[in-house]
Protein backbone atom coordinates (compact mmCIF):
# COMPACT_ATOMS: atom_id res chain seq x y z
CA UNK A 1 0.00 0.00 0.00
CA UNK A 2 0.76 3.62 -0.48
CA UNK A 3 4.21 4.56 0.65
CA UNK A 4 5.28 8.15 1.20
CA UNK A 5 7.71 9.66 -1.32
CA UNK A 6 11.47 9.88 -0.79
CA UNK A 7 11.19 13.04 1.30
CA UNK A 8 8.57 11.32 3.46
CA UNK A 9 5.41 12.97 2.15
CA UNK A 10 2.00 11.37 1.82
CA UNK A 11 0.27 12.84 -1.22
CA UNK A 12 3.19 15.23 -1.67
CA UNK A 13 2.00 17.47 1.15
CA UNK A 14 1.94 15.82 4.57
CA UNK A 15 4.82 14.32 6.49
CA UNK A 16 8.48 15.11 5.87
CA UNK A 17 11.56 15.14 8.08
CA UNK A 18 11.60 18.45 9.95
CA UNK A 19 14.22 17.55 12.52
CA UNK A 20 17.53 19.00 13.65
CA UNK A 21 20.41 17.85 11.46
CA UNK A 22 21.77 15.50 14.14
CA UNK A 23 18.64 13.35 13.74
CA UNK A 24 18.53 13.47 9.95
CA UNK A 25 21.12 10.74 9.53
CA UNK A 26 19.55 8.78 12.39
CA UNK A 27 16.28 8.75 10.42
CA UNK A 28 18.14 7.70 7.28
CA UNK A 29 19.79 4.84 9.19
CA UNK A 30 16.40 3.82 10.56
CA UNK A 31 14.90 3.86 7.09
CA UNK A 32 17.70 1.67 5.73
CA UNK A 33 17.24 -0.77 8.63
CA UNK A 34 13.47 -0.77 8.15
CA UNK A 35 13.70 -1.39 4.41
CA UNK A 36 16.09 -4.28 4.90
CA UNK A 37 13.86 -5.82 7.58
CA UNK A 38 10.67 -5.34 5.57
CA UNK A 39 12.27 -7.14 2.63
CA UNK A 40 13.31 -10.07 4.81
CA UNK A 41 10.71 -12.82 5.35
CA UNK A 42 12.49 -14.01 8.50
CA UNK A 43 11.81 -10.63 10.10
CA UNK A 44 8.10 -10.91 9.43
CA UNK A 45 8.05 -14.54 10.54
CA UNK A 46 9.50 -13.53 13.86
CA UNK A 47 7.07 -10.60 14.16
CA UNK A 48 4.03 -12.78 13.45
CA UNK A 49 5.25 -15.52 15.79
CA UNK A 50 5.49 -12.99 18.63
CA UNK A 51 2.09 -11.53 17.75
CA UNK A 52 0.62 -15.02 17.96
CA UNK A 53 2.36 -16.37 21.05
CA UNK A 54 3.10 -13.24 23.06
CA UNK A 55 0.32 -10.84 22.06
CA UNK A 56 -2.40 -13.43 21.45
CA UNK A 57 -3.27 -12.63 17.83
CA UNK A 58 -5.36 -12.87 15.83
CA UNK A 59 -7.66 -10.77 17.96
CA UNK A 60 -11.30 -11.85 17.71
CA UNK A 61 -14.10 -10.22 15.76
CA UNK A 62 -17.26 -9.94 17.83
CA UNK A 63 -20.78 -8.91 16.95
CA UNK A 64 -22.05 -6.30 19.38
CA UNK A 65 -25.61 -7.54 19.59
CA UNK A 66 -26.99 -5.20 22.26
CA UNK A 67 -25.05 -1.95 21.83
CA UNK A 68 -27.66 -0.45 19.51
CA UNK A 69 -31.13 -1.57 20.54
CA UNK A 70 -33.27 0.02 17.82
CA UNK A 71 -34.88 -2.56 15.53
CA UNK A 72 -33.60 -2.33 11.98
CA UNK A 73 -30.27 -0.76 12.93
CA UNK A 74 -27.08 -1.89 11.24
CA UNK A 75 -24.99 -4.66 12.72
CA UNK A 76 -22.01 -3.43 14.73
CA UNK A 77 -18.82 -5.49 14.86
CA UNK A 78 -15.94 -5.06 17.29
CA UNK A 79 -12.34 -5.81 16.37
CA UNK A 80 -11.16 -6.86 19.80
CA UNK A 81 -7.76 -5.19 20.14
CA UNK A 82 -8.61 -4.82 23.83
CA UNK A 83 -7.86 -8.52 24.20
CA UNK A 84 -4.23 -8.12 23.18
CA UNK A 85 -1.50 -8.57 25.77
CA UNK A 86 -1.16 -5.27 27.67
CA UNK A 87 -4.73 -4.43 26.71
CA UNK A 88 -4.51 -2.40 23.51
CA UNK A 89 -3.29 -2.25 19.92
CA UNK A 90 -0.10 -0.45 21.01
CA UNK A 91 1.83 -3.71 21.40
CA UNK A 92 1.58 -4.60 17.67
CA UNK A 93 3.85 -1.64 16.98
CA UNK A 94 6.26 -2.09 19.88
CA UNK A 95 6.83 -5.74 18.94
CA UNK A 96 7.76 -4.65 15.42
CA UNK A 97 10.00 -1.78 16.48
CA UNK A 98 11.56 -3.86 19.26
CA UNK A 99 12.54 -6.57 16.76
CA UNK A 100 13.88 -3.89 14.42
CA UNK A 101 15.93 -2.34 17.24
CA UNK A 102 17.49 -5.71 17.97
CA UNK A 103 18.15 -6.39 14.30
CA UNK A 104 19.85 -2.99 13.95
CA UNK A 105 22.07 -3.78 16.92
CA UNK A 106 20.78 -0.99 19.15
CA UNK A 107 21.48 -1.74 22.79
CA UNK A 108 18.90 0.58 24.24
CA UNK A 109 15.30 1.61 23.55
CA UNK A 110 13.65 4.91 24.43
CA UNK A 111 9.98 5.82 24.18
CA UNK A 112 7.63 8.67 24.99
CA UNK A 113 4.34 8.03 26.71
CA UNK A 114 1.26 10.03 27.65
CA UNK A 115 -1.06 7.97 29.76
CA UNK A 116 1.51 5.22 29.92
CA UNK A 117 -0.01 2.66 27.52
CA UNK A 118 2.74 2.95 24.93
CA UNK A 119 5.31 3.11 27.71
CA UNK A 120 4.00 -0.16 29.13
CA UNK A 121 3.88 -1.77 25.67
CA UNK A 122 7.48 -0.69 25.03
CA UNK A 123 8.70 -1.82 28.45
CA UNK A 124 6.97 -5.14 27.78
CA UNK A 125 8.81 -5.86 24.53
CA UNK A 126 12.04 -4.57 26.07
CA UNK A 127 11.71 -7.15 28.82
CA UNK A 128 10.80 -9.89 26.34
CA UNK A 129 13.79 -9.16 24.08
CA UNK A 130 16.22 -8.25 26.85
CA UNK A 131 16.78 -4.65 25.72
CA UNK A 132 16.91 -1.90 28.39
CA UNK A 133 14.11 0.68 28.06
CA UNK A 134 13.98 4.33 29.13
CA UNK A 135 10.54 5.93 29.03
CA UNK A 136 9.98 9.70 28.95
CA UNK A 137 6.75 10.82 30.54
CA UNK A 138 5.45 14.28 31.42
CA UNK A 139 5.62 15.04 35.14
CA UNK A 140 1.87 15.70 35.24
CA UNK A 141 1.17 12.33 33.62
CA UNK A 142 3.57 10.57 36.00
CA UNK A 143 1.42 11.89 38.79
CA UNK A 144 -1.93 11.12 37.11
CA UNK A 145 -0.97 7.62 35.91
CA UNK A 146 0.96 6.24 38.85
CA UNK A 147 -0.28 2.71 38.20
CA UNK A 148 1.25 2.56 34.72
CA UNK A 149 4.47 4.07 36.08
CA UNK A 150 4.59 1.21 38.54
CA UNK A 151 3.93 -1.37 35.83
CA UNK A 152 6.72 0.04 33.65
CA UNK A 153 9.10 -0.24 36.60
CA UNK A 154 7.93 -3.80 37.26
CA UNK A 155 8.89 -4.57 33.67
CA UNK A 156 12.36 -3.22 34.34
CA UNK A 157 12.05 0.10 32.52
CA UNK A 158 13.35 3.42 33.81
CA UNK A 159 10.74 6.17 33.83
CA UNK A 160 12.01 9.73 33.41
CA UNK A 161 9.70 12.49 34.57
CA UNK A 162 9.75 15.41 32.11
CA UNK A 163 9.30 18.80 33.71
CA UNK A 164 9.66 21.03 30.63
CA UNK A 165 6.81 22.85 28.87
CA UNK A 166 3.32 21.62 29.70
CA UNK A 167 4.72 18.45 31.31
CA UNK A 168 2.53 16.17 29.18
CA UNK A 169 2.84 13.91 26.10
CA UNK A 170 4.02 16.62 23.72
CA UNK A 171 6.88 17.49 26.05
CA UNK A 172 7.69 13.84 26.71
CA UNK A 173 8.01 13.44 22.93
CA UNK A 174 10.29 16.48 22.71
CA UNK A 175 12.46 15.01 25.44
CA UNK A 176 12.65 11.60 23.77
CA UNK A 177 13.79 13.29 20.54
CA UNK A 178 16.43 15.23 22.51
CA UNK A 179 17.63 12.07 24.21
CA UNK A 180 17.84 10.35 20.83
CA UNK A 181 19.92 13.27 19.52
CA UNK A 182 22.36 12.75 22.38
CA UNK A 183 22.74 9.00 21.88
CA UNK A 184 21.87 8.15 18.28
CA UNK A 185 24.55 5.47 17.96
CA UNK A 186 23.29 3.03 20.58
CA UNK A 187 19.66 4.12 20.96
CA UNK A 188 16.49 3.16 19.11
CA UNK A 189 13.55 5.52 19.53
CA UNK A 190 10.24 3.62 19.54
CA UNK A 191 7.52 6.14 18.65
CA UNK A 192 4.05 5.11 19.77
CA UNK A 193 1.87 6.38 16.96
CA UNK A 194 1.81 7.20 13.25
CA UNK A 195 3.40 10.58 14.01
CA UNK A 196 6.92 12.03 13.95
CA UNK A 197 9.35 12.39 11.08
CA UNK A 198 9.52 9.97 8.15
CA UNK A 199 9.80 6.95 8.24
CA UNK A 200 7.90 6.68 11.54
CA UNK A 201 4.34 7.33 10.29
CA UNK A 202 4.81 4.75 7.53
CA UNK A 203 6.64 2.22 9.71
CA UNK A 204 4.15 2.35 12.57
CA UNK A 205 1.29 1.94 10.09
CA UNK A 206 2.99 -1.14 8.65
CA UNK A 207 3.21 -2.63 12.13
CA UNK A 208 -0.45 -1.82 12.85
CA UNK A 209 -1.97 -2.88 9.55
CA UNK A 210 -2.26 -6.42 10.90
CA UNK A 211 -5.47 -5.15 12.53
CA UNK A 212 -7.09 -4.26 9.22
CA UNK A 213 -5.80 -7.30 7.35
CA UNK A 214 -7.20 -9.65 10.00
CA UNK A 215 -10.47 -7.76 10.32
CA UNK A 216 -11.12 -7.73 6.58
CA UNK A 217 -10.64 -11.50 6.34
CA UNK A 218 -12.75 -12.11 9.46
CA UNK A 219 -15.66 -9.98 8.25
CA UNK A 220 -15.59 -11.52 4.78
CA UNK A 221 -15.47 -15.03 6.18
CA UNK A 222 -18.30 -14.50 8.62
CA UNK A 223 -20.63 -12.22 6.69
CA UNK A 224 -19.68 -12.93 3.10
CA UNK A 225 -19.25 -9.23 2.40
CA UNK A 226 -17.13 -6.27 3.42
CA UNK A 227 -18.25 -3.85 6.11
CA UNK A 228 -19.99 -0.72 4.83
CA UNK A 229 -18.22 1.45 7.38
CA UNK A 230 -15.05 1.23 9.45
CA UNK A 231 -14.75 3.39 12.55
CA UNK A 232 -11.74 4.13 14.75
CA UNK A 233 -10.72 6.81 17.21
CA UNK A 234 -7.89 9.15 16.23
CA UNK A 235 -5.39 10.81 18.53
CA UNK A 236 -2.04 10.36 16.81
CA UNK A 237 -4.00 7.82 14.80
CA UNK A 238 -2.19 4.47 14.88
CA UNK A 239 -5.13 2.18 15.60
CA UNK A 240 -7.13 3.97 12.91
CA UNK A 241 -4.34 3.68 10.32
CA UNK A 242 -4.02 0.03 11.31
CA UNK A 243 -7.62 -0.85 10.63
CA UNK A 244 -8.02 1.58 7.68
CA UNK A 245 -5.07 -0.08 5.94
CA UNK A 246 -7.04 -3.26 5.47
CA UNK A 247 -9.76 -1.42 3.54
CA UNK A 248 -8.00 1.52 1.91
CA UNK A 249 -8.36 0.09 -1.59
CA UNK A 250 -11.96 -1.06 -1.03
CA UNK A 251 -13.35 2.26 -2.18
CA UNK A 252 -16.94 1.38 -1.25
CA UNK A 253 -15.99 0.96 2.40
CA UNK A 254 -16.34 4.28 4.20
CA UNK A 255 -13.58 5.09 6.68
CA UNK A 256 -14.38 7.19 9.73
CA UNK A 257 -11.84 8.66 12.12
CA UNK A 258 -13.29 9.95 15.37
CA UNK A 259 -11.34 12.67 17.11
CA UNK A 260 -11.67 13.81 20.69
CA UNK A 261 -13.70 17.01 20.74
CA UNK A 262 -13.09 17.37 24.48
CA UNK A 263 -15.55 19.98 25.73
CA UNK A 264 -16.54 20.75 22.14
CA UNK A 265 -14.92 21.89 18.91
CA UNK A 266 -15.94 25.51 19.48
CA UNK A 267 -14.94 25.54 23.11
CA UNK A 268 -11.21 25.70 22.35
CA UNK A 269 -10.83 22.91 24.88
CA UNK A 270 -10.33 20.10 22.43
CA UNK A 271 -7.86 17.61 20.99
CA UNK A 272 -9.47 17.37 17.52
CA UNK A 273 -6.54 18.42 15.33
CA UNK A 274 -8.15 17.55 11.98
CA UNK A 275 -11.50 19.14 12.85
CA UNK A 276 -10.38 22.20 14.77
CA UNK A 277 -6.70 22.66 13.81
CA UNK A 278 -4.72 23.98 10.87
CA UNK A 279 -1.70 22.81 8.92
CA UNK A 280 1.59 23.13 10.77
CA UNK A 281 4.74 21.30 11.80
CA UNK A 282 5.15 19.30 14.99
CA UNK A 283 7.57 16.55 15.99
CA UNK A 284 9.14 16.41 12.56
CA UNK A 285 6.17 16.28 10.22
CA UNK A 286 3.71 18.58 8.50
CA UNK A 287 0.14 17.74 9.36
CA UNK A 288 -2.85 19.25 11.09
CA UNK A 289 -2.07 20.82 14.41
CA UNK A 290 -3.84 22.66 17.20
CA UNK A 291 -1.87 25.87 17.36
CA UNK A 292 -2.07 29.57 18.02
CA UNK A 293 -2.02 32.07 15.13
CA UNK A 294 1.67 32.59 16.06
CA UNK A 295 2.48 28.94 15.45
CA UNK A 296 2.85 27.92 19.08
CA UNK A 297 1.43 24.51 19.88
CA UNK A 298 -1.84 24.83 21.82
CA UNK A 299 -2.76 23.14 25.04
CA UNK A 300 -5.27 20.40 24.40
CA UNK A 301 -8.00 18.72 26.35
CA UNK A 302 -9.67 15.35 26.17
CA UNK A 303 -11.11 13.09 28.83
CA UNK A 304 -9.00 10.41 27.19
CA UNK A 305 -5.28 10.77 27.79
CA UNK A 306 -4.51 8.67 24.71
CA UNK A 307 -6.22 11.17 22.42
CA UNK A 308 -4.92 14.24 24.22
CA UNK A 309 -2.31 15.23 21.63
CA UNK A 310 -2.14 18.46 19.61
CA UNK A 311 -1.03 16.81 16.37
CA UNK A 312 -2.18 13.91 14.22
CA UNK A 313 -0.43 11.50 11.88
CA UNK A 314 0.35 13.00 8.44
CA UNK A 315 -1.33 10.15 6.56
CA UNK A 316 -4.61 11.07 8.24
CA UNK A 317 -4.16 14.64 6.99
CA UNK A 318 -3.68 13.18 3.53
CA UNK A 319 -6.75 10.90 3.82
CA UNK A 320 -8.79 13.90 4.96
CA UNK A 321 -7.62 16.09 2.06
CA UNK A 322 -8.11 13.31 -0.49
CA UNK A 323 -11.56 12.57 0.89
CA UNK A 324 -10.82 8.87 1.34
CA UNK A 325 -11.58 9.07 5.06
CA UNK A 326 -13.97 11.31 6.95
CA UNK A 327 -13.02 12.76 10.31
CA UNK A 328 -15.70 13.51 12.86
CA UNK A 329 -15.48 14.01 16.59
CA UNK A 330 -17.07 12.97 19.86
CA UNK A 331 -17.13 15.06 23.02
CA UNK A 332 -16.01 13.91 26.46
CA UNK A 333 -19.65 13.50 27.39
CA UNK A 334 -20.53 11.42 24.32
CA UNK A 335 -17.52 9.21 24.89
CA UNK A 336 -18.41 8.72 28.53
CA UNK A 337 -21.97 7.71 27.61
CA UNK A 338 -20.64 5.18 25.09
CA UNK A 339 -18.18 3.89 27.69
CA UNK A 340 -21.03 3.11 30.10
CA UNK A 341 -23.28 1.73 27.41
CA UNK A 342 -20.64 -0.67 26.13
CA UNK A 343 -19.97 -1.88 29.66
CA UNK A 344 -23.64 -2.38 30.50
CA UNK A 345 -24.86 -3.83 27.21
CA UNK A 346 -21.85 -5.69 25.82
CA UNK A 347 -20.00 -6.74 28.95
CA UNK A 348 -16.85 -4.89 27.86
CA UNK A 349 -15.37 -1.90 29.62
CA UNK A 350 -13.73 -0.10 26.70
CA UNK A 351 -10.84 2.33 26.83
CA UNK A 352 -12.07 5.93 26.87
CA UNK A 353 -10.21 6.35 23.57
CA UNK A 354 -12.19 3.56 21.93
CA UNK A 355 -15.40 4.92 23.46
CA UNK A 356 -15.10 7.89 21.07
CA UNK A 357 -15.29 5.46 18.14
CA UNK A 358 -18.22 3.67 19.78
CA UNK A 359 -20.14 6.92 20.11
CA UNK A 360 -19.95 7.51 16.36
CA UNK A 361 -20.56 3.86 15.48
CA UNK A 362 -23.90 3.93 17.32
CA UNK A 363 -25.01 6.98 15.35
CA UNK A 364 -23.98 5.35 12.09
CA UNK A 365 -25.74 2.08 12.91
CA UNK A 366 -29.01 3.96 13.45
CA UNK A 367 -28.64 6.04 10.29
CA UNK A 368 -27.62 3.17 8.05
CA UNK A 369 -30.34 0.75 9.02
CA UNK A 370 -30.31 -2.91 8.04
CA UNK A 371 -28.05 -2.51 5.00
CA UNK A 372 -25.18 -1.32 7.13
CA UNK A 373 -22.35 -3.35 8.59
CA UNK A 374 -20.27 -1.18 10.91
CA UNK A 375 -16.84 -2.36 12.00
CA UNK A 376 -15.39 -0.59 15.04
CA UNK A 377 -11.82 -0.90 16.19
CA UNK A 378 -12.14 -1.54 19.90
CA UNK A 379 -8.56 -0.42 20.33
CA UNK A 380 -8.13 -0.96 24.05
CA UNK A 381 -9.69 -2.06 27.29
CA UNK A 382 -10.84 0.38 29.91
CA UNK A 383 -9.63 -0.81 33.29
CA UNK A 384 -6.92 1.86 33.12
CA UNK A 385 -9.69 4.50 33.10
CA UNK A 386 -11.93 3.18 35.86
CA UNK A 387 -10.36 5.26 38.61
CA UNK A 388 -10.59 8.43 36.54
CA UNK A 389 -14.21 7.81 35.59
CA UNK A 390 -15.13 7.02 39.19
CA UNK A 391 -13.52 10.24 40.37
CA UNK A 392 -15.28 12.26 37.65
CA UNK A 393 -18.68 10.86 38.48
CA UNK A 394 -18.38 11.22 42.23
CA UNK A 395 -18.08 14.98 41.81
Amino acid sequence: MHRPDARGYFGGAFGGKFVPEVLYEALAELERGMDAAFADPTFWNEYHALLRDFVGRPSPLMEATRLVEEAGAAKVLFKREDLNHTGAHKINNTVGQGLLARRMGKGRIIAETGAGQHGVATATIGAKLGIPVDVYMGALDVERQSLNVFVMKLLGAQVHSVTSGTQTLKDATNEAFREWAARVEDTFYVIGSVVGAHPYPFMVREFQKVIGIEARAQVLERYGRLPTDVVACVGGGSNAMGIFSGFIDDLDVRLWGVEAAGHGLDAGDTAASLNAGSIGILHGSRSYLLQTPEGQVSNTHSISAGLDYPGVGPEHAFLKESGRATYVSATDEEALRAYHRCAEREGIVPALESAHALAHAQKLARELGGKGLVLVNLSGRGDKDTRQVAALEER
Binding site: R7, F18, P20, V22, Y24, S164, G165, N174, R178
Partner: protein, 235 residues
Protein backbone atom coordinates in the same frame (compact mmCIF):
# COMPACT_ATOMS: atom_id res chain seq x y z
CA UNK B 1 21.28 43.22 26.76
CA UNK B 2 21.74 43.52 23.00
CA UNK B 3 23.69 46.75 23.48
CA UNK B 4 25.84 45.04 26.11
CA UNK B 5 26.57 42.13 23.79
CA UNK B 6 27.59 44.59 21.09
CA UNK B 7 29.87 46.66 23.30
CA UNK B 8 31.39 43.59 24.97
CA UNK B 9 32.65 42.42 21.60
CA UNK B 10 30.22 40.00 19.95
CA UNK B 11 30.88 39.75 16.20
CA UNK B 12 27.42 38.44 15.41
CA UNK B 13 24.35 38.34 17.65
CA UNK B 14 21.94 35.43 17.50
CA UNK B 15 18.53 36.59 18.72
CA UNK B 16 15.96 33.94 19.56
CA UNK B 17 12.32 34.06 18.61
CA UNK B 18 10.81 31.87 21.33
CA UNK B 19 9.16 28.58 20.39
CA UNK B 20 7.51 26.30 22.94
CA UNK B 21 8.72 22.97 21.50
CA UNK B 22 12.36 23.49 20.52
CA UNK B 23 13.72 20.06 19.55
CA UNK B 24 17.34 21.19 19.10
CA UNK B 25 17.52 22.95 22.46
CA UNK B 26 18.33 21.71 25.91
CA UNK B 27 16.81 22.78 29.23
CA UNK B 28 18.37 26.26 29.44
CA UNK B 29 17.14 27.59 26.11
CA UNK B 30 13.86 25.67 26.25
CA UNK B 31 13.07 27.20 29.65
CA UNK B 32 14.14 30.65 28.44
CA UNK B 33 11.72 30.29 25.51
CA UNK B 34 8.93 29.38 27.91
CA UNK B 35 9.65 32.44 30.05
CA UNK B 36 9.74 34.65 26.99
CA UNK B 37 6.42 33.29 25.73
CA UNK B 38 4.85 33.74 29.14
CA UNK B 39 6.15 37.28 29.11
CA UNK B 40 4.35 37.89 25.82
CA UNK B 41 7.33 37.81 23.44
CA UNK B 42 6.44 37.15 19.80
CA UNK B 43 8.13 36.99 16.43
CA UNK B 44 7.22 40.65 15.80
CA UNK B 45 8.38 41.57 19.28
CA UNK B 46 11.77 39.99 18.71
CA UNK B 47 12.12 41.87 15.43
CA UNK B 48 11.32 45.15 17.19
CA UNK B 49 14.24 44.47 19.53
CA UNK B 50 16.44 43.56 16.60
CA UNK B 51 15.53 46.72 14.70
CA UNK B 52 16.34 48.87 17.75
CA UNK B 53 19.69 47.15 18.25
CA UNK B 54 20.55 47.34 14.56
CA UNK B 55 19.79 51.04 14.41
CA UNK B 56 21.97 51.53 17.51
CA UNK B 57 24.87 50.11 15.51
CA UNK B 58 24.94 46.51 16.79
CA UNK B 59 26.95 43.91 14.86
CA UNK B 60 24.99 41.76 12.39
CA UNK B 61 21.97 40.10 13.98
CA UNK B 62 20.76 36.62 13.03
CA UNK B 63 17.33 35.53 14.18
CA UNK B 64 17.08 32.01 15.60
CA UNK B 65 13.74 30.22 15.48
CA UNK B 66 11.94 27.03 14.52
CA UNK B 67 10.06 26.43 11.30
CA UNK B 68 6.45 26.40 12.46
CA UNK B 69 6.32 30.00 13.76
CA UNK B 70 7.87 31.12 10.47
CA UNK B 71 5.41 29.11 8.38
CA UNK B 72 2.42 30.49 10.26
CA UNK B 73 3.77 34.03 10.00
CA UNK B 74 4.42 33.50 6.30
CA UNK B 75 7.91 32.97 4.93
CA UNK B 76 7.77 35.93 2.54
CA UNK B 77 6.37 38.19 5.24
CA UNK B 78 9.09 37.02 7.65
CA UNK B 79 11.78 37.80 5.08
CA UNK B 80 10.32 41.27 4.49
CA UNK B 81 10.11 41.90 8.23
CA UNK B 82 13.73 40.84 8.76
CA UNK B 83 14.85 43.09 5.94
CA UNK B 84 12.90 46.00 7.39
CA UNK B 85 14.41 45.37 10.83
CA UNK B 86 17.94 45.40 9.44
CA UNK B 87 18.54 41.78 10.38
CA UNK B 88 21.18 39.74 8.51
CA UNK B 89 19.28 36.46 8.25
CA UNK B 90 17.97 33.54 10.27
CA UNK B 91 18.93 30.11 11.59
CA UNK B 92 16.05 27.60 11.49
CA UNK B 93 17.46 24.36 12.89
CA UNK B 94 14.55 22.02 12.17
CA UNK B 95 14.62 22.61 8.42
CA UNK B 96 16.91 20.04 6.81
CA UNK B 97 18.90 20.87 3.67
CA UNK B 98 16.28 19.18 1.45
CA UNK B 99 13.56 21.55 2.67
CA UNK B 100 15.50 24.83 2.65
CA UNK B 101 14.34 25.79 -0.86
CA UNK B 102 11.23 27.61 0.33
CA UNK B 103 13.29 29.69 2.77
CA UNK B 104 16.10 30.44 0.33
CA UNK B 105 13.62 31.54 -2.33
CA UNK B 106 12.58 34.43 -0.08
CA UNK B 107 15.87 35.04 1.72
CA UNK B 108 18.30 35.15 -1.21
CA UNK B 109 16.64 37.93 -3.25
CA UNK B 110 16.66 40.10 -0.12
CA UNK B 111 20.29 39.35 0.70
CA UNK B 112 19.33 37.52 3.90
CA UNK B 113 21.66 34.78 5.11
CA UNK B 114 20.53 31.24 5.91
CA UNK B 115 23.33 29.46 7.77
CA UNK B 116 22.75 25.69 7.95
CA UNK B 117 23.91 23.18 10.53
CA UNK B 118 26.27 20.21 10.25
CA UNK B 119 26.07 17.60 13.03
CA UNK B 120 28.47 14.86 14.12
CA UNK B 121 26.13 12.34 12.49
CA UNK B 122 26.21 14.12 9.10
CA UNK B 123 28.08 12.07 6.48
CA UNK B 124 30.97 14.02 4.89
CA UNK B 125 29.41 14.30 1.42
CA UNK B 126 26.24 15.73 2.90
CA UNK B 127 28.29 18.04 5.17
CA UNK B 128 30.02 19.49 2.11
CA UNK B 129 26.66 20.05 0.42
CA UNK B 130 25.36 21.75 3.54
CA UNK B 131 28.44 23.96 3.78
CA UNK B 132 28.09 25.00 0.15
CA UNK B 133 24.37 25.72 0.58
CA UNK B 134 24.97 27.85 3.70
CA UNK B 135 25.18 31.61 3.49
CA UNK B 136 27.43 33.65 5.72
CA UNK B 137 28.92 30.71 7.55
CA UNK B 138 28.18 27.09 8.23
CA UNK B 139 27.19 26.13 11.78
CA UNK B 140 29.15 23.11 12.97
CA UNK B 141 27.46 21.34 15.88
CA UNK B 142 30.24 20.50 18.31
CA UNK B 143 28.94 17.18 19.62
CA UNK B 144 25.86 14.94 19.76
CA UNK B 145 22.79 16.14 21.62
CA UNK B 146 21.02 19.45 22.09
CA UNK B 147 22.19 22.90 23.14
CA UNK B 148 23.42 22.97 26.73
CA UNK B 149 26.41 24.19 28.67
CA UNK B 150 26.41 21.00 30.71
CA UNK B 151 28.45 19.05 28.15
CA UNK B 152 31.43 20.59 26.39
CA UNK B 153 32.46 20.32 22.73
CA UNK B 154 34.07 17.23 21.23
CA UNK B 155 37.32 18.89 20.13
CA UNK B 156 38.83 15.86 18.42
CA UNK B 157 35.80 15.44 16.23
CA UNK B 158 35.67 19.18 15.46
CA UNK B 159 39.33 19.21 14.41
CA UNK B 160 38.91 16.20 12.14
CA UNK B 161 35.71 17.44 10.53
CA UNK B 162 37.04 20.97 9.97
CA UNK B 163 40.15 19.57 8.29
CA UNK B 164 37.94 17.55 5.94
CA UNK B 165 35.64 20.46 5.19
CA UNK B 166 38.49 22.89 4.52
CA UNK B 167 39.67 20.67 1.67
CA UNK B 168 36.28 20.82 0.02
CA UNK B 169 34.74 24.16 0.93
CA UNK B 170 35.89 27.70 1.62
CA UNK B 171 32.79 28.55 3.65
CA UNK B 172 33.63 30.07 7.07
CA UNK B 173 32.90 27.65 9.91
CA UNK B 174 31.49 28.59 13.30
CA UNK B 175 31.17 26.02 16.06
CA UNK B 176 28.31 25.92 18.54
CA UNK B 177 26.59 23.70 21.17
CA UNK B 178 28.28 23.21 24.55
CA UNK B 179 30.69 26.16 24.20
CA UNK B 180 30.62 27.83 27.60
CA UNK B 181 34.11 28.85 28.76
CA UNK B 182 37.04 30.93 27.46
CA UNK B 183 38.98 27.65 27.25
CA UNK B 184 36.37 26.22 24.89
CA UNK B 185 36.44 29.38 22.79
CA UNK B 186 40.24 29.36 22.62
CA UNK B 187 40.32 25.72 21.54
CA UNK B 188 37.50 26.14 19.00
CA UNK B 189 38.85 29.38 17.52
CA UNK B 190 42.21 27.73 16.92
CA UNK B 191 40.37 25.45 14.49
CA UNK B 192 37.31 27.35 13.26
CA UNK B 193 36.38 30.87 12.22
CA UNK B 194 34.08 31.49 15.13
CA UNK B 195 32.46 30.16 18.29
CA UNK B 196 28.76 30.38 19.13
CA UNK B 197 27.62 30.68 22.75
CA UNK B 198 23.99 30.53 23.83
CA UNK B 199 23.08 28.48 26.89
CA UNK B 200 26.13 29.67 28.86
CA UNK B 201 25.09 33.29 28.35
CA UNK B 202 21.57 32.59 29.60
CA UNK B 203 23.01 30.66 32.56
CA UNK B 204 25.23 33.67 33.34
CA UNK B 205 22.37 36.14 33.75
CA UNK B 206 19.65 33.69 34.83
CA UNK B 207 17.70 34.95 37.83
CA UNK B 208 18.83 38.56 37.46
CA UNK B 209 17.35 41.55 35.71
CA UNK B 210 18.37 44.96 34.40
CA UNK B 211 21.83 46.25 35.22
CA UNK B 212 22.83 43.07 37.05
CA UNK B 213 21.92 40.86 34.09
CA UNK B 214 23.71 43.22 31.72
CA UNK B 215 26.82 43.27 33.90
CA UNK B 216 26.98 39.49 34.07
CA UNK B 217 26.49 39.13 30.33
CA UNK B 218 29.14 41.74 29.59
CA UNK B 219 31.61 39.99 31.86
CA UNK B 220 31.13 36.63 30.17
CA UNK B 221 31.16 37.99 26.63
CA UNK B 222 34.32 40.01 27.28
CA UNK B 223 36.08 36.94 28.63
CA UNK B 224 34.95 34.85 25.64
CA UNK B 225 35.87 37.65 23.26
CA UNK B 226 39.40 37.85 24.66
CA UNK B 227 39.77 34.10 24.23
CA UNK B 228 39.05 34.25 20.49
CA UNK B 229 42.43 35.87 19.94
CA UNK B 230 40.96 37.96 17.14
CA UNK B 231 40.67 41.74 16.91
CA UNK B 232 37.60 43.33 18.42
CA UNK B 233 34.99 44.32 15.86
CA UNK B 234 35.69 47.81 14.58
CA UNK B 235 39.17 47.75 16.11
Amino acid sequence: MLAAAASAGADVIELGIPYGDPLADGPTIAAAAQRALQGGMTLDGALVLARQAASDGAPPILMFTYFNPVVQYGIERFADAMLAAGVAGAIVPDVPLEETGVLRAEFAPRGLALPLLIAPTTPLERAVEIAEASDGFVYLVSRLGVTSAARGPDLDWIAARIAELRERSTRPIAVGFGISTPEHVRAVCALADGAIVGSALIDAYFGTLGAEATARSTKLIEALRAATGGPRPGA
